[in-house]
Every structure is written in C-alpha cells, then in structure tokens.
Amino acid sequence: MTTRAGIRADRLTTVLGGVRVLDDVSLEVGPGEIHALVGLNGAGKTTLMRILLGMLRPDRGTAALMGIPVHAAGARTFSRVGQMLDTPFAYPELTARENVYSAARLHGMGRAAAGAAAQRALAALGLDAYSAQRAATLSLGNRQRVGLAAALVHAPAVVVLDEPTNALDPRGVIVLRRLLQDAARDRGASILVSSHHLDEVARMADRITVLHRGTIIGTLPPGTVDLERRFFELVLASETQFEEQA
C-alpha cells in the first residue's frame, strides 16, 4: 500500500515573460513530512509554490494536493490547505483576531469553531496581547505572525509557506518551528516551506531540496551543520554546467 503524498509536483515547466522559470521540476511531500525548498532569489521557489496552490497554471506538468490535481480541487480539498505566499493574510483595517477568524471562516469553519480556533492560533503564535489591535498598527514581525496564524488556524493537512521566518524575531522562529513540527508529527500534515535561513531549515526539515535557475540541482542532508558550504557547492556546480552549455 502506498501513502498518498500531500503535495506533488510532477515535471512542472513554466515560462514567464520569455524566461523559463521552472524546468521539469518534480517534488513530493509526504504525510508528516516537512520539506524545505532552498535557493537563491529568483530560483523559482515562489513560482513553484504558486503552481502548487493553483495561483498559476504551468505550461507543462501537473500539480496535485492530497492526490487531487490542483486545477480540479474543490472546497473539500482546499478546506484542508493552509498557505502564506507573498503577503501575510493581515488586512490593515482588521484586528489580528478578526484576520485570523476570517481566515478560519473562509476555510469553512463555523462561527463558534472559528472564534475558538482563532483564539488558539493567536495564543500559539504569541499574539494574545495584540489580538484586539488592528493589523495596520502591528510591527512587520507581528503581521507575519498574524499571517501564519491565519494559515494554520484550521489545522490544515497541507501547508505551503513561502519564507515564513521573514521578519520574525528569534523567538518567533522557534515558535513557528515547533508549530510546524507538531503539525507534521501529531496530525500528519505535509508541509512545504521555502527559506533563506539554511541553519533554520537544517533544524526543521526532513528533506531539503535545492532549486537553482528553475531546476532542482540536488538535495541537502538535514540536521547537519555545514549546509551553507554544501549549498554553495551545488549552486557553483550548476553555474559551471550552465556556462559550459551556453
């Protein structure tokens, strides 16, 4: 019996503005797994995540969530997906609580359940003291926390987070790491995160994939201390190969 992947990208290729942003990218995130995507700016991490979440159609290849092709996914599938890409779900005119509550409601939760879940999510991210404060008045880091609370409030089975530790203080980074590890361990969530912080990724991820110029150029062993050197070796090797082919 095979376990169905929470997230699957199969030979994705995308060209945007004449540039091949993704080239034959395949990736899988199994249940209970935290899969980190690392790469330089412009490597294609965000584009890959957009395709996985149905924000962009690939030119070739398929993306699936919990075994359902993303373009055919319906309310039932998406009610179990949490994501934060580009800008946190933190509307400036709404309070922290209202933002998280709204995210819970939009994910199909009833009013009472959404209220209780929002309170729990805010507490888990250390936002208790700010719950009645409008997002416009929060610091960048706390807005990021609100966005993370909104992505996780409904206990999703699939989580996709783009640079989730951006703007977080060291405590926030630890809080997020624990939340994601708990989600993977306790309810078998499939989690895909992109990050620039290799040391953070090393502590959190079960698998680390390196994306460069829209291609997967290798993997890094998580839990090791010398990720930075290994990362740049992979990038350098890829660049050398690219220049030789050019």
Binding site: D86, Y91, L94, L106, G108
Partner: protein
C-alpha cells in the same frame, strides 16, 4: 451556500472598517441632501444673486418635489462618483495591497468572493440612498417645506430608483480595477466614464446611454430631456449584470504571476 455566506461576512467586515466607505457614506447620505436644501433655499429666496438664479435653473419643480428632484439629481452624479470609488477600492485594493494571494486555495471560490463584494456594495448602496432620503426629509422640513404630500413620495421614489440604478452602473468598474490590478486604474476608468457620459449627452444620445439615463431622468438635462422611457432606464440593469459577470469570470480565471 455556506462558503458564500462566509465570503459575504468577510467582505462586510472589511467594508465597515474602511474609512473610505464611511467618508462616501457621509457625503452621499448627509452632505448631498443638505447641499440640495441650500440650493432650494437659494432658489426660492426670491433674490437675484448668481447662486439663486443658478439654483432656480436646477430645480425641476416647486416645494418637496423640486427639492427631492434636486437631491436625486445630485445623487445620480454623486453616487456614480462615490460608489464608483468604493467599487474600485474594494476590488483594486486586493492587488494594490498584494492581498490577492491569500484569496487562493480556499473552499470559497474567487468568483464567489467577487460576488460577495458586489452583494455588500449593493446592500450598502441601498442603505446610503435610503439614508439620503431620510436626511432629505429632515432637511426639507428644516427649510420649511412643510409636510410632504403624495407628489413628494413619488419624487422620493424616483430619486431612490435613480440612485440604485447608478449604484448598479458603478459595479462594472470592478472589471477595470481587477484587470488593471489596482484601484487607481479603476478610478481612471471612472473619470473616463464621466467624460464620455458628458460627451454623449452633449451630442443628444444620452437617453440611450445607460450612464447618462438616470441623471437625465432626474432632470440634469432640463425638463425636455427628462422624458426617459422605461426601456432606456432598464438598459442599466443588463449593463451592470454583464459587468458583474465579467468581473466574476475574471476573478475565477485570474493568476498570480508577480509578487
């Protein structure tokens, strides 16, 4: 249906927290009836001041019907501008503030979210138009028009209908704000629409131009041009429905290609 209700609830929450919405509410619901009352007083004061003469030229009747006609006339222009601004903000802000990515991968579809925005905007428009008439009732009494008679009710109903038709006509601006991904292009579209309406009206084709018809019906082009047949007014509805459906379809198919 439950997901649509959640979307309406979400849009209504954002809507009632927005300063722009409250500003436009105050302008349409409070300021315009008061301004119309000032014009009515100036027109009926019997003086020969410039304001008085111009105000007298605007009024299409005497007493309550003249005053409510002026309210409706101002609302037909003011509502297009005010509600148009709100439509452009409501849709364009998701792109200007880069919040659109959060509207993907949800059980509630993006077309439903777009329709939820329209539902909230139209419900608010109805409330603002009614509030404007309530304010007009108070203002009319305050300037000594006495008790409103049956003709006042007919004028109020006409003003309400003109306001609501104009609210419907503001909705297609959402297509511009969405496709151009921002509220400023939408506002640009609104300005262009007002200019086109002026030009079309000047050339005498205003009655068949939906964006001019409610204003002409209220007497903007004078008593002679106010004879608008029902079909010319009803034309506003398909224009609005097509605009809203096009917006919904665009939202359903939209992609995020840049941050």
């Amino acid at each position: 249906m439950n997901t649509f209700l959640a979307a309406v609830e979400f849009e209504a929450l954002k809507f009632r927290r927005a300063r722009l919405v409250w500003t436009v509410t105050a302008l349409l619901g409070l300021a315009l009836p008061v301004l119309a009352a000032v014009f009515t007083v100036a027109a009926t004061a019997g003086g020969s001041s410039k304001l008085g003469l111009k105000a007298a030229a605007i009024l299409t009747g005497r007493g309550w019907s003249g005053y409510l006609g002026a309210v409706g006339m101002m609302q037909s222009v003011g509502a297009l501008m005010g509600i148009g601004f709100v439509v452009c903000w409501s849709f364009g802000r998701e792109f200007t503030e880069k919040t659109q990515a959060g509207l993907f991968a949800l059980p509630v579809g993006r077309r439903q979210l777009a329709y939820a925005k329209f539902a909230v905007i139209l419900a608010w428009s109805l409330a603002v138009c009614v509030a404007g008439l309530v304010m007009a009732a108070g203002s009319g009494a305050a300037i000594g028009l006495g008790l409103p008679g049956p003709e006042a009710l007919a004028a109020a109903a006409q003003a309400l209908a003109a306001g609501l038709l104009t609210a419907l006509l503001a909705c297609p601006l959402a297509v511009v704000a969405s496709m151009a991904r921002g509220y400023l292009p939408g506002v640009g579209g609104l300005v262009l629409l007002v200019v086109i309406t002026q030009v079309v009206t000047t050339f005498g084709a205003g009655a068949w131009f939906p964006y001019a018809a409610p204003g002409l019906w209220m007497g903007m082009g004078g008593a002679a041009a106010a004879h608008i047949n029902p079909w010319q007014l009803i034309l506003c509805i398909p224009v609005s429905v097509v605009g809203m459906a096009a917006t919904g379809q665009w939202w359903k198919a939209m992609e995020v290609t840049a941050g």
